[in-house]
Amino acid sequence: MANLNLVQAINLALIQEMEKDDRVLILGEDVGVNGGVFRVTEGLQKRFGEKRVVDTPLAESGIIGTSIGLAMAGLRPVPEIQFEGFLGPAYDQICSHAARMRTRTRGAYTVPLTIRVPVGGGIHAPELHSDSPEAIYAHTPGLKVVMPSSPYDAKGLLVSAIRDPDPVIFFEPKRVYRAFREEVPEDEYTIPIGKARVICEGTDLTVISWGASVMQCMESIEKSSKSVELIDLRTIYPLDIETIEASVRKTGRCVIVHEAPFTCGFGAEVAATIMERCFLHLEAPVQRVTGFDTIMPYYKLELNYLPDATRISGAINDIAAY
């Protein structure tokens, strides 16, 4: 057991998977000598050599396109896109190829690929370094979308992602990178993709969140007099409907919290699922506390944009009083 932050936990998962399986290789901008701009791949090139930890040209479409080829040939590439804002150039390769290859070839070719992407706001970064595009990829059939909120989960989920036979986008919330440490076993363990985690149990209402917002939810719940159940989705797609359903049937009230914009945010999908599955158990309309339908602002206003504990508490109180 070591006390690790998110960066270190991911680093450890990468090391262990690379040691175990020589089909695993890392590629991306500045991931080698520099160890990545967030140092997530720190020390890996020294350890595994330039063949397995590759500094690529500055081209996201190139990184993902070649990763698709590597994966089709049977390797297990783990490309990094430096910030979620730079997924743009890779979008075509991800959505037109990675997501579709299995279907298009009726399974003759598959793309076992794990795309690591730092995500989200709250770190005073420049433009296009703070967005939350998870819903775009959850809306793309053929992809799995994962977003851990803690070091322990990140390690187990990354191992699952690398071993998964299908393409996974592994979003790493930047605000969590160095926010806290927790016990992370050295020993191998996995956390299944598609399983949410109940962080704390409660009976009055359910809060569902993922990524860095989980921290704001915990802050709000600590202050709340209500008995709140907090669910961290951990995987955006495939959605763990069972855990959600069991909780909301019990509490009858639900608040969904995410950084991404409101309209067509993944909270909309969760809310619709709850409406379909728990209709007769609902005591109040499902509420969403999210980023606004605006461009993610530069950092002077980012805290006005991001859902904080105050906004979450407001929703908790309103829904509890309903």
């Binding site: 520099n34 606004f292 605006t294 461009i295 206003l301 407001g314 929703a315 309103d318 309903y322």
Partner: protein, 368 residues
Amino acid sequence: MPKKTVLSVQIEFVSILDEHGNYDAALGDGLIPDADLIKLYEAMSSCRYLDEVAFKLQRSGRMGTYPQNMGQEAGSLGAAYILNKDDWLVTCYRENCGLFWRGVPMESILLHWMGDERGNAMPREHFATPIAVPIGTQMLHAAGLAWASKYRGDSQIACTFFGDGATSEGDFHEAANFAANLDLPVVFCCQNNFWAISTPGRIECSAPTVAQRGIAYGMPCLQVDGNDIFACAYATKWAAERARQESKPSFIEMVTYRLGDHTTADDARRYRDQAEVDVWKERDPLLRTRMHLERKKLWDSSKEEAMQARVKTDVDAAVKRAEEIAAPPAADLFNSMYAELPPTLAHQRDTMQTHSLASEQAAKVEGH
């Protein structure tokens, strides 16, 4: 049939004022009058001082991540000096010097890196597009801006700046191809500083020059000493004339070096040798310009001192103005979203909430 050569290309390298102060009068004379050269030197010095101040601001928490321009002042300045005031300047983040020459206020750039969008509200009369953050994307805009000028029959051209790393992105290649094949009056200026964050030039371009990337698309190319204000002006003049007279693009590789870290979030010691940096410190564009002015008896240490004092006053005043600008109100998130704000968005702005019960509660309170 014997094989025959169908293409052999040559790329010229232009240096007019080298790091030792050697000056090629045949190429340089008539390019920059002495009085202007003094102003250009002051502009570079001012930009350099701004970099020092910005670095300290970032370190003391008064500014976000900032990319120093140190060492690369001559390229964009040489271009901005030659271009007409209404030619488009389409840049990324290492072209402060050219933007300031154009008239973009220092506060704009400061505000941008202080996390305030209003820094990007570039007055249209400067014909400068906002700093492009996604690498390698803005060159296509330059092609479009140039196209619009051609469409209207104007003489305006577009000059775009980007790094060596940016030439790895697909968009760069599309921009070059569009400009060359649609005959668009674009000047492509690549600032080859040998690094893209920690990625060395050989990973971005294994050909002997970046300039030849232009040749691949049918553009004439020049490689110039990018730390030589004369060479940068010379090449821009050559390319701008071709753009204006023939409506055709050209490609300039400005060979330079990033003397600082990639940004304040970077630590270049992790991936490059100090010895390499030291070599380039000798090739600093400011040093050689000063040397040249001194040799021409246009400059001395008292002039230097007076100039440095002026620069300090001006830059410090700009920093003060930028810092005095209070954070925008939260409603600013919404105000520039659309020409007409959709009702749901107006509602979000007015309540600063997204959950529907907030409004119901508010309505109840009002109703009582």
